[in-house]
């Protein structure tokens, strides 16, 4: 009697799930991969091998050749203003979402002693929003996680500040709030800095990094750095073969950092 009842409930439950539609089951099995699965089955667009995968994977292209000191300054300032990133002014406590460094530090394994063209050129560093992000793998609380659109996000309210992600990131993209950023921001505001009231400030003891302007993407806007220098930064959908970024990547030579580590970065340097 008991067994029969159990069997009945099981069957009823399954029927209900199927009734809700195939997608419902997939969601329960593994949320976030539904789109990928559908694409596999040919329900998505296209039919090419290449198209198997998510429909959206955001990527950033940085035209190194079009970059100069002035534009770097404008980009960094825009980003750090938009996200209320304090300017500590010392390397020990500093927080940075996007910053400039030299070729030999950005591509330490690709130094070419016989060609110095790229040396001294400005390279912008930021989170690579890897397709296979080690930071997401190591985070013990899923405070950093990969969204279905490929964006590697950070939940400042869940982060416990263990800094495992900082050890795991091969790109040095992550910053930790060693001290209270609000105290520093207030100091800067006293000297005329403006606060962006549309983006939250952080508390001390949590990790942060570039978020590909997820808050602007939600409003249908381009990331702040792209808006600051539209001839240098190009943002678009890597999964769409007809997107702006895919067209540029087809024509220009591009570099990605530390490809040998298998992280599959989404930031490309055009040279």
């Amino acid at each position: 009697m008991n067994m029969d009842r159990r069997k009945f409930l099981k069957a009823a439950g399954l029927t209900t799930l199927v009734g809700l539609g195939g997608k419902g089951i997939f969601e329960l099995v593994k949320p976030g991969t539904v789109e990928a699965e559908m694409a596999h089955e040919g329900h998505g667009h296209g039919g090419h091998e290449e198209e198997a995968g998510p429909k959206v994977r955001w990527a950033m292209l940085i035209d190194v050749m079009a970059l100069n000191k002035e534009k770097v300054e404008k980009i960094v300032h825009t980003c750090h203003y938009l996200h209320n990133v304090p300017n500590w002014g010392d390397p020990k406590n500093e927080i940075k979402w996007i910053w400039e460094d030299e070729y030999e530090h950005v591509f330490p394994d690709s130094y070419n002693e016989y060609n110095h063209i790229l040396e001294g050129m400005p390279f912008l560093l930021m989170c690579n929003h890897c397709d296979n992000p080690p930071c997401v793998r190591v985070c013990p609380v899923q405070a950093t996680f990969k969204r279905p659109d490929g964006l590697v996000a950070q939940d400042y309210h869940r982060c416990i500040g263990c800094r495992f992600c900082m050890a795991a990131c091969p790109y040095g993209s992550r910053s930790f709030n060693w001290l209270d950023p609000r105290v520093q921001l207030e100091k800067e505001m006293a000297q005329g800095r403006k606060l962006n009231k549309r983006f939250p400030t952080r508390m001390r003891g949590v990790v942060e990094k570039c978020n590909f302007c997820v808050e602007r993407l939600a409003e249908g806007k381009q990331p702040g750095c792209v808006e600051a220098a539209p001839d240098v930064m190009f943002f678009g959908n890597l999964a769409d073969p007809n997107s702006n970024v895919r067209k540029i990547l087809k024509e220009r030579i591009s570099l990605r950092r530390k490809l040998e580590l298998g992280t599959k970065p989404s930031v490309f340097y055009l040279i």
Binding site: P91, V141, I160, R163, A167, R204, G205
Partner: protein, 386 residues
Amino acid sequence: MIEKALKGSSVYWGWIIFLLCLIGAGVMAYMYQLKVGLGITGMSRDISWGVYIAQFTYFVGVAAGGVMVVIPKYLHHYTKYAKIVVFGEFLAIAAVVMCLLFIVVDIGQPMRMLNVLLHPTPHSMLFYDMIVLNGYLLLNIICGYNTLLADKKGVPCPRWVKPFIYLSIPWAISIHTVTAFLYAGLPGRHFWLTAIMAPRFLASAFAAGPALLIMILLFVRRVTKFDPGMDALQTLAKTVCYAMIANLFFMGCEFFTAFYSQIPGHMHTLEYLFAGLDGYGNLVPFMRAAIIIGLLGVFLLLVPPIRRNTKGLVLACASVFLATWIDKGVGLVIGGFIPNPFETITEYHPTLPEITIAAAIWGVGGLIVTILYKIAISVREEQARV
């Protein structure tokens, strides 16, 4: 049994008060850290783990080392360890508590610590570390308390405890394996990305843990009426010797792979640690000393007359403990961050509050060992009288 910890000589109480002062200073420093942030430490954007995590790593090893007494006693019925096995378990309890405290003081938002339970994440090695460390603490409390209680009553250990004792053996291996996996699976940190990280951790653990145990038991032998038995300590010293040789061998393997392959990324950290890199070399004297002291320890243990001499044995164990401490408790964690992902170098200078907090956690470990050992020794002394 706890009442036995409340009766002691003035020296005993003086030591307890000293430890409490150490802990008190650390608590104050920690309040300061809670108020201001981890910026009061020497850690930085480049060196994002420091003294705390390095000490955590080392004491996981000390905790795991206790199994070197448990295996001979319970798997090989080596009865000479019967009297000291509980001391190994109690040392493990103290060491694991230290590990947990080092984690707590290291995290930026300790009040959110339970997020690890609220959002269990099986793909994070820290998730497993939490499970194995807390599990090992529990196992050692169960096994240590019950074996001592049985001894006190003069009856054999209850049968239900046996499975826990056997479980504690692979569990001890697991705590240090998982701790090694925290490091050994990170892309881009060449120094840590080595398959022999876990074996090397275990080797140094099986050297350091028993070495510390021998030193404490020799001290106990001097100041109390309890005799752990020189035969037992000699056997344990041989374990230390084997394990330390294995540890040095593994270290040699790391050198070979890095320098024979000549891959720059693999050589850089070793160069920084042992020779200096690009003009930076804060840790060079310490790391070189660690090699020399480690070899000295092995030599002292290999020569039977020295090992059988109490002073020689203490010197040998102190050498092994110090050498492994510098190697794993300082160089391993700091070295992993040098050079940084941009191939530049930021060095690490721990601050006074940071060291005060770390010292306080050592103090907590010392206090737990003192109290638990006092209880165990009182029980043993009573037995001797009967």
